[in-house]
Structure formats: C-alpha cells, structure tokens
C-alpha cells in the first residue's frame, strides 16, 4: 500500500510556543551574530545530550536559507516556500539516537553519526531534523561563514 489519507481531529494540551528572540532574523549567507551563536550553543548542547551524545566531536553552524539547509541536512527532502526562509543550520558529529521526535509505533529510534538541525532565527525552535551516518554532501563553508559552537580536543 503506497498511498493513504485521513482526516485528523484532535485536542491535545501542550506547551506554549517558546518565547521569541529579540535578535533580528539574519539574511542568508551572513554570519551568525555572536548573541545568537551563544544562544544556539546552549540549545544545541542540550539537544545533543538529549539525543545521546553530550560531547559531540564538533558542532558547527551557519546562517542560510531553508532550502539550502535542507540540501545539507535532509538531502532529498524539499519544502515549498523554503527559498525565502532564513534559518540557522547546525550540524554536529557524534553518536546520536534521536529520542525526541515522532516515529511509527514500535520502531527503534533513528541513529546516526551526523545530526543536523535547522532553527528559526526568530524563535530558536527546530524547523528541520536530519540524522544519518553520512556527512552533509558539501562543506558548510559553501553556505557562508561557519561558527564553531563546540570542538573536542
């Protein structure tokens, strides 16, 4: 069966949206502002810990557009309208198990050596997640100035 459809109707009580950042959204290909990089560092460190590796080998970030970030983080997936959406793309190398997002019932959590996340620069909420054993197809430097958020010595 390759095709399915359904109508959803639900009321689930959940957390409110995270508070917005005072920082202005960056333009694609500009560097990540220092204040945003500092905030990202804390956020992604927690994400890495939640996903099984509190000390990734490295964590790098770049400011870009969502479509270019998808080509790096989730190659093969496309989203309408992503060309005009600015994001912070974060890529980290380590040993990850994605424990905090949806998978089908009774399915083992996805694992991989590279965890990629895109963040909304205004809210710092995750927009996209990718986890694979392969590195991004191109160096992050091809998208703009890269910020190193963590580096194990």
């Amino acid at each position: 069966m390759g095709i399915a459809a359904v109508s959803l109707a639900a009321a689930a009580v959940a957390a409110p949206l995270a508070t917005s950042s005072a920082a202005s959204p960056p333009s694609a290909s500009s560097g990540i502002p220092a204040t945003a990089a500092q905030r990202l560092t804390g956020i992604v460190a927690r994400a890495a810990e939640m996903d099984g590796d509190a000390k990734p080998v490295w964590i790098e970030a770049v400011s870009t557009s969502r479509d270019k970030a998808l080509a790096m983080a989730t190659p093969g997936d496309t989203i309408p309208g992503s060309v005009s959406q600015p994001v912070y793309l974060v890529v980290m190398k380590g040993n990850f198990t994605l424990n905090d997002f949806s998978t089908p019932p009774n399915t083992r959590a996805p694992t991989g050596s590279y965890l990629s996340l895109t963040y909304d620069p205004a809210t710092f909420l995750v927009m996209d997640i990718g986890i694979t054993n392969d590195p991004p197809p191109d160096p992050l430097q091809s998208l703009g100035p890269v910020s190193t958020l963590a580096q194990q010595k």
Binding site: M1, G2, I3, A4, A5, V6, S7, L8, A9, A10, A11, A12, V13, A14, A15, P16, L17, A18, R46, M50, A73, T74, G76, D77, T78, I79, P80, L98, D100, F101, S102, T103, P104, P105, N106, T107, R108, P110, G112, D120, T123, L125, V126, M127, D128, I129, G130, I131, T132, N133, D134
Partner: protein, 176 residues
C-alpha cells in the same frame, strides 16, 4: 502535557513500507505535533533506505479548524508527495524513497509522557482511505484494526484507542 522540552504528542498518519506491526523500517508521516516548544504545529517526516536517514520538518503554522485532511502519495520515481496544512496543500516531497508495494498505513496518536503527568490527549482520525494503483480511493473499513502500543504500568491511567470498522474511524481520549 508537561512543558519539559522533551515530551510530545502527535496526531498523524504513517505510511510504512513493511507490515509495520513489529516496527517500521522506512516510512513517510504527516500530522500535527505539540510539545517540544510546539503547539499544534504541522509536521512531516520520512525515513529512507540506502543511507538516506531520518528527517523531520515542522511548519510554523498552527493547525486550526478541522477535520483536517492529510495524505502521503507515492507518485513514482521513488518520490512521495506529502499533503497537509490548514488548506490541504503539498507541504513536502520525499525523494530517494522507494515504494515496497507491501506497506501498511497507520493512523493515530503518539505520546511520550510518563503516566501521572496529567497530559490530556483527545482526538480521532476519520475517513481512513487508501488509493489503488488505478487511482481509485477506498475506505479502510474492516481492513483496519486497532492497536494499542506501549506497556502500561499497573494501576496508572493509559490512553487507548478504539476503531469503528463500520464508520471507518479511530478515536481515543483520556488523561495519562
């Protein structure tokens, strides 16, 4: 649900490429997620073979109104088109993701909170349908059945679902 930044609840459709009962290998999914900082946000995800990996995408838009249709459609050439959103438009495309021809559709809710956290999860999925290779849509009806996953500890609230075969819908509700 608790605002702990680690738990979530979804209402969604999974289209998996194997029988799916004992766990999916590869799939597409689309629905609405709350928790993790989101509140009724549209999302879709896929897990692809050949090293493709797992990917998830969250929209900034909040699901409103309803019932809200969703659809994952294999369109050939290893591509799936994902439909959802408040206006039922294409919200994503998954490529390098072959169809097995023997997959299974799953519809329902997923939540990660532990019992005793007072999360409420009320909802349902209606008009469950699949499309034949000839392009004809059919209701699931007696083809579908209810499955309650997870192992509830004794004497704690647990949210189970119920499938109505004649009406072709699944509903659930409760506090966990």
């Amino acid at each position: 649900m608790p605002n702990d930044g680690t738990d979530f609840v979804t209402i969604e459709l999974w289209d998996v490429l194997n029988d799916g009962i004992s766990g999916a290998q590869y799939w597409t999914e689309v629905g609405v997620v709350s928790g993790l900082g989101y509140y009724h946000n549209w999302f879709w995800a896929d897990n692809r073979p050949n090293g493709g990996g797992y990917h998830a995408h969250v929209q900034s838009s909040e699901a409103t109104g309803g019932p809200l249709p969703v659809e994952t459609t294999y369109v050939g050439n290893n591509q799936w088109d994902i439909y959802g959103g408040n206006s039922f438009t294409q919200i994503g495309t998954s490529t390098s993701n072959p169809d097995s021809g023997s997959g299974r559709s799953q519809f329902g809710t997923e939540y990660t909170v532990n019992p005793g956290t007072s999360m409420r999860d009320l909802g349902g999925v209606y008009q469950l349908e699949y499309e034949s290779q000839a392009g004809q849509w059919y209701g699931e009806y007696s083809l579908a059945k209810n499955h309650n996953y997870g192992t509830p500890p004794p004497n704690v609230p647990w949210i189970n679902g119920s499938y109505n075969a004649s009406g072709d819908y699944e509903t659930w509700g409760g506090i966990c």
